[in-house]
């Protein structure tokens, strides 16, 4: 497989103080949908903007489709489609005028009509951008990237603030682009988005990759595929190490006053758990089991939730 995007030892320091990115390595293959996942302020936007050639890294190398930014600036821009976080397009231009404008910058753009049809914007072709809903604006922002007929699509938090239906709609568009052979790099702080959409993920925190791989690999690395969450009366509950020794338990942590166990096989662990509680004379107040998610991976790695400020 060809490498579409590669960066090595990427660093970015703002005004000599804030280290937004602290030595990041990424390799994204052609045809892949790759997700940068991390909480707000993790350095996702800084990273993607460096890769887009909009920010100069303090140090490190970037290669897009085998070329570097300084060498082939304009030629490279011809083949990239970029949607920034929160761009407010001209409010008094219509959807069609906005797309025509962006199409005019490219040597060989796609037809505006076709892109509008694909993005379900045809009905809004003659509506001013200022009159569009949040979901429509976000689709238009992605449309301005797709009209370029790009090889690589960069999307910075494409679905932040959208309702579930608009998010699904956008996911579908991204999948279609990928099916036609396009490469996608997106940032998100939504776990489910990364799990459903991305072939591979890098989890970023404080400017560093703390884990990367396919969603399944990352969850696998957690040790257990299932999470058992419970709460009970009595004082024995807080001694987390005690729960670690139950059969099938890979890891234990506390969350919102409940004990969370990562387990391989719930049917082995749960009877043992109930027996242990009975021995301590404590009553179960709460018990749930669920599939492990990327959120659990993140909590396990950082001790924090992704959406926490």
């Amino acid at each position: 497989m060809d490498v579409a995007i590669r960066c090595r030892q990427l660093r970015k320091t703002y005004e000599g103080k804030v280290e937004a990115v602290r030595g990041l390595d990424l390799e994204i293959l052609a045809g892949e949908c790759f997700g940068l996942l991390g909480p707000n302020g993790a350095g996702k936007t800084t990273t993607i903007e460096i890769l887009e050639g909009l920010l100069q890294p303090t140090s490190g190398e970037v290669e897009i489709l085998g070329s570097t930014w300084n060498a082939q600036n304009r030629e490279l821009r011809e083949v990239l489609g970029i949607s920034l976080q929160e761009t407010r397009l001209g409010e008094k231009l219509t959807v069609r005028e906005t797309l025509d404008l962006f199409a005019s910058f490219y040597r060989r753009p796609r037809s505006t009509n076709e892109v509008m049809a694909e993005m379900a914007l045809t009905e809004k072709a003659n509506t001013w951008v200022g009159k569009l809903s949040g979901g429509q604006r976000q689709r238009l922002a992605v449309a301005t990237a797709l009209v370029a007929n790009p090889k690589i699509l960069f999307l910075d938090e494409p679905t932040t603030g959208l309702d579930p239906q608009s998010r699904r709609q956008l996911w579908e568009i991204i999948r279609q682009f990928q099916q036609r052979g396009g490469t996608v790099l997106l940032t998100t702080h939504y776990m489910d988005e990364a799990e459903r959409l991305c072939d591979r993920i890098a989890i970023i925190d404080h400017g560093l990759t703390i884990a990367s791989g396919t969603p399944a690999e990352l969850i696998e690395r957690l040790g257990g595929h299932h999470m058992v969450e419970f709460d009970a009366t009595g004082d024995g509950l807080r001694e987390l190490e005690a729960w670690r020794s139950l059969p099938g338990v890979e890891a234990v942590h506390e969350e919102d006053g409940k004990v969370v166990l990562s387990v391989r096989e719930p049917h082995e662990t749960i009877p043992a758990l109930l027996a242990a509680l009975q021995k301590q004379n404590s009553h179960l107040l709460h018990l749930t089991t669920r599939q492990a998610s990327l959120e659990d991976v993140f909590v396990r790695l950082t001790g924090r939730h992704l959406r926490e400020e």
Binding site: D2, V3, A4, A30, E52, G53, L54, L55, I64, L65, G66, S67, Q72, R74, E75, L76, R77, E78, V79, L80, I82, L84, Q85, E86, T87, R88, L89, G90, K92, L93, E97, D100, L101, F102, A103, S104, F105, Y106, R107, R108, P109, R110, S111, E114, W128, T144, A148, N149, P150, K151, F177, R180, G181, G182, T183
Partner: protein
């Protein structure tokens, strides 16, 4: 440039079958200019400030300061034994139409004189008249002279030398003639500064500039489109104000339209450059609004848009003449009112070019797209 696109991705472009015909070199510029003009045209504020406001200002000021025969002098005569005789003399004078006199008690007369309702107070004495006037008020000084002449003539003074007068009020010397080129200059400055400076910072704040440079848009084309949109607007501003002056106030345009056009275009581009400079780094529209006002305010006052800058102390004159709006106003007045050819205005045009060139040079060095 000119190299083939990177071809690491062997499949080529993702949608190669659906691409439209190749875009030419100037397509981007064309669409940027078109988009800019559409946005301006759809912005009611722009229509008002750029087109309606200067016309309304010209209309208002033109009416308020229209050249009309000097007002009748309003004279208060203090009631008393000599008041009737004074009125009689004034009524019999050859210049009686120039004086409107009324008899009032002393207290009221002086009080209303102080409030500006009367220009002069005449107090009859035993065998003389005492005038009370305000040397700082031109109409008061005039009233004293006119009233004195009327009284003296009515009382029998004869002129030592016969004189005759003929009235003459030609277009070209009136306040409105002075005002229209000044308004034009000021309007070119205001719309250049706001149209370029404010628009750019607004686009930067919305991250639209960044989105543009993320595409293969040529940055030079973008700036060129902005400048072109200013020139298109300039043409409309010029046509509107000049034809308004000609139609509503019978203003006479002495210079060639071409020279007026050249001066206006230079002015529009010069202030476009200053606007670009003001906007080169500001991240927030609040910041740039403040900056623009700091630049505009001194020129509104100093550069002779509404009144001649000759009124300022001599020591300030070189400074005032070095301001771009002063150069623009002077050049427009000379071309419109006196028909001065461009070669006679080299110095003023040079001042405009210099301001423009220095602004563009610094702006392009400092300009931030993100």
């Amino acid at each position: 440039m000119g190299k083939s696109p990177p071809t690491t991705c062997q499949e080529g472009k993702v949608n190669s079958t659906t691409a439209t015909p190749e875009n030419g070199r100037w397509k981007g510029y064309e669409y940027l200019l078109l988009a800019r003009l559409k946005e301006l045209y759809r912005e009611p504020e722009v229509i008002f400030w750029v087109f309606a406001f200067p016309i309304l200002l010209a209309l208002g000021l033109g009416i308020a300061f229209r050249n009309k025969p000097t007002d009748t002098s309003r004279v208060a005569v203090v009631a008393g034994p000599g008041a009737a005789r004074a009125l009689e003399l004034l009524g019999a004078a050859p210049a009686r139409d120039a004086v409107h006199a009324e008899v009032l008690p002393a207290g009221d007369a002086f009080n209303q004189f102080r409030l500006g309702k009367y220009d002069l107070v005449v107090t009859p004495r035993a065998d003389s008249y005492e005038y009370r006037y305000d040397p700082a008020r031109p109409e008061s000084v005039l009233a004293r002279t006119v009233t004195d002449d009327a009284l003296q003539a009515a009382a029998g003074r004869t002129n030592a030398v016969p004189t005759t007068s003929r009235a003459s009020s030609e277009p070209g010397a009136r306040y409105i003639d002075f005002l229209i080129p000044g308004l034009l200059g000021m309007n070119l400055m205001n719309s250049g500064m706001w149209g370029i400076g404010f628009a750019l910072v607004d686009m930067r704040q919305r991250r639209l500039l960044k989105r543009f440079v993320a595409s293969p848009m040529r940055r030079g084309d973008f700036l060129l489109a902005l400048a072109s949109s200013r020139l298109v607007l300039m043409l409309i501003e010029l046509a509107l104000l000049l034809s308004f002056g000609v139609l509503a106030f019978h203003m006479r345009v002495m210079g060639s339209l071409l020279s007026i056009l050249v001066i206006s275009a230079l002015g529009a581009l010069c202030f476009g450059g200053v606007g670009l400079l003001t906007a080169s780094r500001a991240q927030k529209i609040e910041t740039v609004s403040g900056l623009i006002n700091v630049v505009l305010m001194p020129m509104w006052i100093l550069s002779g848009s509404f009144f001649s800058y000759e009124r300022f102390p001599a020591i300030l004159q070189p400074l005032i003449k070095a301001l771009p709006l002063t150069a623009l106003n002077d050049a427009l007045r000379a071309a419109i009112l006196e028909g001065a050819p461009l070669v006679h205005q080299a110095m003023r045009l040079f001042v405009l070019c210099l301001w423009g060139a220095v602004s563009y040079f610094l702006a392009l060095r400092w300009f931030r797209w993100t």
